[in-house]
Symmetry: C2
Subunit: 144 residues, 2 copies
DNA sequence: ATGTTTTCATATTGACATGCTATGAAAAGG
DNA sequence: CCTTTTCATAGCATGTCAATATGAAAACAT
């Protein structure tokens, strides 16, 4: 029941871009330094975010990444689901619930459904804009 | 972000014992058949539950397992935490929060804290007694 | 053209976790 | 004793995690 580094890094990556792409595209090299994450790992993480249209890439010198939308249009859940796959706590809640033959006899699924709603409730209540605001409140500590 | 089979099976195991230990101890062999889980795997799962005093074991013929307490005294969270380890969504929420040097600069932790509370809110709101009641409401379908 | 800087695309790796199965010992009752 | 149960470890195949490695492709500057 843990969120992987990929998910956690993706969030920090998106936040880093959000806070730095105003004037020019953000290079992964800079994000890597600010966030203390390897460039190579960030490349891997961002590829999915590009493919799903969450960030736009610009190649070559002076290239980098920009958010495709406003920070307020990305919920935390959207970002996590993109890199992490589903955020559902048990597999039988996806696939149209068709894969467990114990459905209908299963009582624990009520717990899992409620758990899923609680998780989504939190992850979809906050957006990148909230994270940006919090970061700025804190004096924008880690941005050089 | 998935609950493992071990956690899910543990819950069904405890429910199975709760529903069947009134007259005599529950043999793992029977639970295995009712729940379609291998005896060997159940043995492994229950060992921790015995060690932490959640179930009492009786050896030999006519032996088996009994709950140590009333079903209403076990929350779902207790059972899951026993077999699954911590149910916290990110590691930096445990260990007295002492292991991440980015603490204090970290903004995402607010999300994780709220997520943790939401998860605990669900998992600690329900007890084995609730599961038993639901199972009985359903006509006790899968118990022979 | 050439070199540099960036992103993009795969493949590989080592460590660890998952989801079991296997073997056999120890206790208890008939 | 013999059977039935739990108890204790070990083993194993597969997969996931968390990266690293290699190199191509695009864009820009000179």
């Amino acid at each position: 029941m843990k969120i992987s580094t990929k998910g956690r890094y993706a969030l920090r990556l998106m936040l880093d871009i959000a806070m730095n792409d105003a004037t020019e595209p953000v290079r992964l090299r800079d994000t890597a330094e600010r966030q203390a994450i390897s460039v190579k790992y960030l490349e891997q993480i961002i590829s999915g975010l590009v493919r799903s249209g969450y960030v736009k890439s610009i190649r070559g010198p002076q290239g980098g990444y920009r958010l495709a939308k406003k920070p307020s249009e990305y919920t935390v859940g959207m970002i996590l689901r993109q890199v992490e796959g589903s955020m559902v706590p048990v597999a039988c809640l996806e696939n149209g619930e068709a894969d467990c033959e114990r459905q209908g006899q299963c009582v624990t699924i009520r717990i899992w459904k409620e758990l899923d709603e609680a998780i989504r409730g939190v992850l979809d209540r906050y957006t990148l804009a909230d994270l940006v605001a919090w970061q700025e409140e804190m004096g924008n500590a880690y941005v050089i």
